[in-house]
């Protein structure tokens, strides 16, 4: 009998379930040397509700990945605020941001970023190991996730022995291993075939619907955007609220509407 996974009790980041999972207000960010600073994000504001699947679209260099890095607390904005379930993240000390990331955010990368020296099982177990969970409990939880994503028999393999789709599934399993309420996904299908990409998006949608996770997806793939509840468009570092798309009931956002919005924005 598999041991049920116990969510860690130490979760200071979420003050209340009624608060948005992520709230971004008036965000500004620049890069480059002081004399030649370039704006990456300008006055960006949005919220993600608990259990919502939000997609941010934009062309390359529009600031999508920077937005994710800031949302994850990997970097600090020049101005503005980022709240993770009501807790201010942007002004926190690096140590607090790390703690918030550990307990509140799962991260899925475009390039998978699996540690090549570790097996699949060890990679998935990393967030739990970081929290200090016992090895046996880690294994049970990881095996559960691997089984769920159809790669239960690949636990002992190393990343280079997997296909691209498998690697990304391992990456998602790793993001879910810590049972964090918010998933940040950076072009998760960017390196995958169409079929593998579809499977990954199905998986992410399932995570949102079945597990109640909030998902922030950045992508430039219109098909991926259709799996979300809401689509925002980021152009030259700023959001375009007028072009926002929303899911209607159980119906996915039509891909044509996404294409149309992209055309209107000249993307």
């Amino acid at each position: 009998m598999m041991e049920p996974y116990q969510r860690p009790s130490r979760r200071p980041i979420f003050k209340s379930m009624s608060l948005p999972a992520l709230s971004v207000s008036n965000l500004y960010h620049f890069v480059g040397p002081k004399r030649a600073r370039q704006s990456v994000l300008e006055d960006v504001s949005f919220q993600i509700a608990q259990g919502e699947f939000l997609c941010v679209m934009g062309p390359s260099g529009s600031g999508k990945s920077t937005l994710l890095h800031l949302a994850a607390g990997l970097d600090s904005p020049e101005a503005g605020s980022i709240e993770l379930a009501g807790a201010e993240l942007s002004a926190s000390a690096p140590a607090s941001r790390t703690l918030a990331r550990r307990n509140g955010i799962g991260y899925v990368f475009q390039f998978f970023n699996l540690l090549p020296n570790l097996t699949v099982m060890e990679n998935v177990g990393l967030p739990l190991a970081i929290r200090g969970m016992a090895s046996a409990a880690q294994k049970a939880r990881c095996q559960d996730l691997l089984d769920r994503f159809g790669i239960g028999n690949r636990g002992g393999a190393f990343p280079h022995e997997l296909s691209g789709g498998e690697m990304q599934r391992v990456s998602i399993a790793r993001a879910l291993a810590g049972d964090q309420p918010l998933l940040l996904c950076d072009e998760p299908t960017g390196n995958l075939s169409q079929q593998a990409g579809l499977e990954i998006m199905e998986t992410l949608r399932g995570v949102c619907e079945n597990d109640g996770k909030s998902v922030l997806l950045v992508t430039h793939n219109p098909r991926d955007a259709t799996y979300s509840d809401r689509v925002l468009f980021l152009v030259d570092g700023g959001l375009s609220p007028a072009n926002e798309l929303k899911r209607r009931g159980d119906q996915p956002i039509p891909v044509d509407e996404v294409h149309k919005a992209l055309n209107e924005l000249g993307i």
Partner: protein
């Protein structure tokens, strides 16, 4: 497994090459330094034992005798640098018997023992003896400490009374004007004076004298006991080990004659110190280079692992958690290196000793001895491990959060310049300041010359660190160099050259570190070769004055030498003949030469005034080595103790190596006086000899002349006589060859250290190349996918090795050329040798070629690894 252990285990398991070569680099550095210390430790033990082996009784470090005019010798001695403690002493033999058990006439109950009179208030603090029971004697009291043997034979214990009687003296003779004159006749048995046994001596130190047949009394009581007899007291001196023997000798200089107990000064002679300190410094260099290699291996591996750090950070691992991963990995590598280094070092030391390699050159004396100085070995091992740990963790402490974001963006993963500069500053401080200070605390340099030498050493280290760290601290310099280098490379091989040039340009710090490692070893080799050349030229200079026109005859059976000299003069152009018979040791070796012979060559032939002074009573010629070791100049005074005429002062007339050298025993530090003084002051027989040095007019056909001299000498004794067959002959050219060969042979220990150090440098280059290949695995995979052949990629690595090897060799030779002067100056300070500065040697070119080849070989493993890479896997690994 916990988080840290999971990541550490995974990293070590999946990167066995990196782990192995990191461990190897540090272990080799630790092993070399432990081997050197252990060999030196055993060398001193073995040679000390050999020198004191014949000596049954305990002896003080130095025994000195004051000149008659000196007031209070103890006070005078206290003011001399290097004198720690002193006591007046005189020795005699007495007869002892127990009170009431045997009378003065009872010959059978009397025991002959050695009595030593020491100053009661000074002797105990010198640790001359250990008491089994009882207490030490008191000043002016008739207390006696007795040896175990006497206590047992006479049945005495603490509190008993023992009678001490002056012996019936044998007829005593003094040397008066060259004649041995009887000054006392044999006396009758004397009645003993009562002494109370205050303590029994343990059978150690002085207590072992005469097999325990010893008694020690207070100096004042002893003087009273022997008041009617002539007693010349000496002074025992305990020397300060931190002060050079030469300084002490110079301090004793004009007021004391002295004898040094050889066993107490093993490895303390100036040339021995120079050699031992040289070996120790070579060890320090090896350790520094070993750590330099590990620093850069781990620093480069950090670059390789920035993405990993980024991922871990994105997953919520805190900085301390990530630090624990790197620290844990460094601990594993350091501990493994410490264990391997300690075991390897001891194994190497054992093998060196078994092959007669000592810290004083090649000598069979050290074979069969192997004792481990555990405290120092463990300390050195710990030092290597500690610094490796510090160096490996530092880059992590400096890695900024922003690197995480860059890593996740898939940007070029290079740790930023500021971090590099900080790291290399830290590295420079650690390797060139902290390491030498801790090293010299654990393994101090031998002798006080260390103080002067240290400043030279630190100057050398500063120059080298400046030269070596400059390209590290300023990567821009290397970037410019890389651009320049890329031009011919691209022309040579457009594709491979471009790859190599780009790789060099992208990783200037890595290339600079590899270049620095190779340069350091090349410089050390060139420096050492320069030093050997300097010693070589010094010996050549000495040989040209001392031995080049001489033939030595040995094996004479105490023969009248003048007729032989006459016979040789008839046949050959002989300028003079020096017999070896008249030699004494006070305060250094003094050789007597006949005036009529020495006046025909050398400075005595050139300067009539000098000759007349030399013929006078107080003239001495000293060799250049004695002069430099003792700081003697012309007109200085050398006190020489005589057996019955007190201490005589001799004036230095000239500094020359032209007279008095004999190969057995080989000693270049001596003085020469006229043999008539030997006869009058020491009553030595100046007419017979066991060996002769024949000075010829010319060195032409010396070996041919030697054959002729052998023929004539044998004919002189009769071809079939036992004397003729016992004769042996050697020429100046033989001795010169032998001496020069010895220099090369003794320096094999340095060659060994340099070779091992070159291995470390090679490991550093290999690590760098390997990490570069691993770091570029994706890029190389893509190139393979685009159609680049394995050969093209291999050539790019090989070209990189060529650049590193060429730059390292050239820079190394240039630095080494400067280092030669520093080393020669350091050795001058240490040894007091008048060393010439060598010019450009052919071996410098060999050093450059050797280093270059090692660099090329070091590139082969990364090439092999790259060949094993699957390009498909390389491009797929995320």
């Amino acid at each position: 497994m916990g988080f840290a252990s999971t990541v550490i285990y995974g990293s070590l398991r999946r990167r066995p090459g990196r782990t192995l070569f990191s461990v190897f680099g540090v272990a080799l550095g630790i092993a070399i330094v432990i081997a050197i210390y252990t060999v030196d430790y055993n060398t001193v033990l073995s040679i000390g034992q050999q020198r004191t082996g014949k000596q049954q009784d305990w002896a003080a470090d130095l025994e000195v005798q004051p000149v008659d005019s000196l007031g209070d010798p103890n006070e005078a001695l206290a003011g001399i640098e290097g004198v720690q403690r002193t006591t007046a002493v005189f020795k005699s033999s007495v007869e002892v018997y127990g009170q009431g058990t045997a009378g003065a006439s009872d010959e059978t109950a009397r025991q002959k023992v050695t009595v030593i009179s020491l100053e009661a208030e000074r002797a105990p603090s010198m640790g001359l003896y250990v008491l089994e029971r009882g207490q030490s004697m008191r000043t002016g009291e008739r207390d006696v400490l007795i040896g175990r043997s006497i206590a047992e034979k006479l049945g005495l214990d603490v509190g008993d009374t023992m009678m001490i009687a002056k012996p019936r003296r044998a007829p005593r003779k003094d040397c008066i004007d060259g004649e041995l004159v009887a000054v006392k006749t044999r006396g009758a048995a004397t009645v003993g004076d009562p002494f109370v046994v205050s303590g029994i001596l343990s059978y150690m130190d002085l207590g072992r004298t005469s097999g325990g047949a010893i008694c020690i009394i207070d100096f004042v009581s002893g003087s009273e006991l022997f008041k009617e007899q002539f007693v010349r007291p000496s002074y025992w001196v305990e020397r300060d080990p931190d002060v050079d023997l030469e300084s002490l000798r110079a301090g004793l200089g004009q007021s004391f004659s002295y004898n040094v107990r050889e066993g107490s000064v093993v490895g303390q002679q100036s040339d021995e110190r120079a050699f031992r300190n040289g070996v120790r410094l070579a060890g320090l260099m090896a350790l520094a280079l070993g750590l330099f290699v590990i620093f850069h291996t781990l620093s480069m591996s950090l670059v390789e692992r920035v993405r990993e750090v980024g991922v871990l950070s994105a997953l919520g691992a805190t900085r301390p958690q990530i630090l624990r991963v790197f620290f844990g990995e460094a601990i594993v590598i350091s501990v493994l290196a410490g264990i391997v280094g300690l075991s390897g070092g001891l194994l190497l030391a054992w093998q060196m000793l078994e092959h007669s390699i000592s810290s004083l050159g090649i000598t069979d004396v050290v074979r069969g001895r192997f004792e481990v100085p555990w405290a120092e070995s463990l300390g050195l091992s710990g030092l290597g491990m500690g610094i490796a740990l510090l160096g490996s963790v530092f880059p992590m402490l400096r890695a900024k959060d922003s690197e995480t974001v860059r890593a996740l963006r898939g940007e070029d993963l290079e740790v930023r310049g500021q971090t590099h500069r900080g790291f290399h500053f830290f590295l420079a401080v650690l390797l060139f300041a902290v390491l030498p200070v801790v090293f010299f605390t654990l393994v101090p340099l031998v002798g006080e010359g260390g103080k002067e030498l240290l400043s030279v050493v630190f100057l050398g280290i500063a120059v080298m660190s400046l030269l070596i760290c400059t390209p590290l601290v300023v990567p821009g310099f290397m970037a410019i160099l890389a651009k320049l280098i890329s031009i011919p490379l691209v022309r040579l091989s457009p594709f491979s050259g471009l790859l190599a040039a780009r790789s060099i340009g992208r990783n200037p710090t890595r290339i600079a570190a590899s270049v620095a490692a190779i340069a350091l070893v090349t410089a050390a080799f060139v420096g050492l070769r320069g030093l050997t050349s300097s010693l070589y030229y010094e010996t050549k200079d000495w040989a040209s004055e001392s031995v080049e026109k001489k033939i030595w005859i040995s094996g004479l059976l105490d023969t009248e030498w003048r007729p032989i000299a006459e016979a040789l003069r008839q046949e050959f152009d002989v300028l003079g003949v020096e017999p070896n018979a008249t030699r004494i040791q006070a305060p250094f070796r003094i050789v007597g030469i006949p005036l009529e012979e020495a006046g025909n060559y050398g400075p005595l032939a050139d300067d009539k005034l000098l000759m007349s002074d030399f013929a006078g009573m107080n003239g001495i010629l000293v060799t250049s080595r004695v002069a430099s070791q003792r700081g003697l100049k012309v007109n200085d005074v050398v006190p020489i103790a005589t057996p019955s005429q007190g201490v005589k002062s001799f004036r230095v007339l000239a500094i020359t190596d032209a007279y008095g050298y004999f190969a057995d025993p080989h000693e270049r530090a001596y003085g020469v006086i006229a043999d008539k003084h030997m006869a009058s002051l020491f009553c030595l027989d100046t007419d017979t000899a066991t060996g002769l040095a024949v000075r010829l007019k010319s060195s032409d056909d010396l070996d041919k002349t030697m054959v002729g001299i052998a023929k004539v000498t044998r004919a002189f004794f009769g071809e079939s006589s036992p004397q003729a067959s016992a004769l042996d002959f050697s020429s100046g050219s033989d001795i010169r060859r032998h001496e020069l060969h010895d220099i090369t042979r003794d320096f094999i220990v340095f060659d060994l250290v340099i070779f091992l150090t070159l291995l470390i440098a090679g490991t550093g280059v290999l690590n760098g190349q390997l990490l570069s290949a691993m770091e570029r695995v994706k890029e190389l995979g893509v190139l393979r996918a685009l159609g680049a052949s394995g050969k093209q990629i291999r050539n790019s690595v090989l070209l990189e090795s060529v650049v590193i090897g060429a730059a390292g060799s050239v820079i190394g030779v240039l630095i080494g050329f400067g280092l030669v002067f520093i080393l020669v100056d350091a050795l001058k300070i240490l040894s007091g040798l008048d060393l010439p500065r060598p010019g450009i040697e052919f071996t410098y070119l060999l050093a450059a070629i050797g280093s270059f080849l090692v660099t090329i070989v070091a590139g082969l493993y990364p090439i092999w690894r790259m060949n094993r890479m699957d390009p498909v896997k390389a491009v797929r690994t995320g």
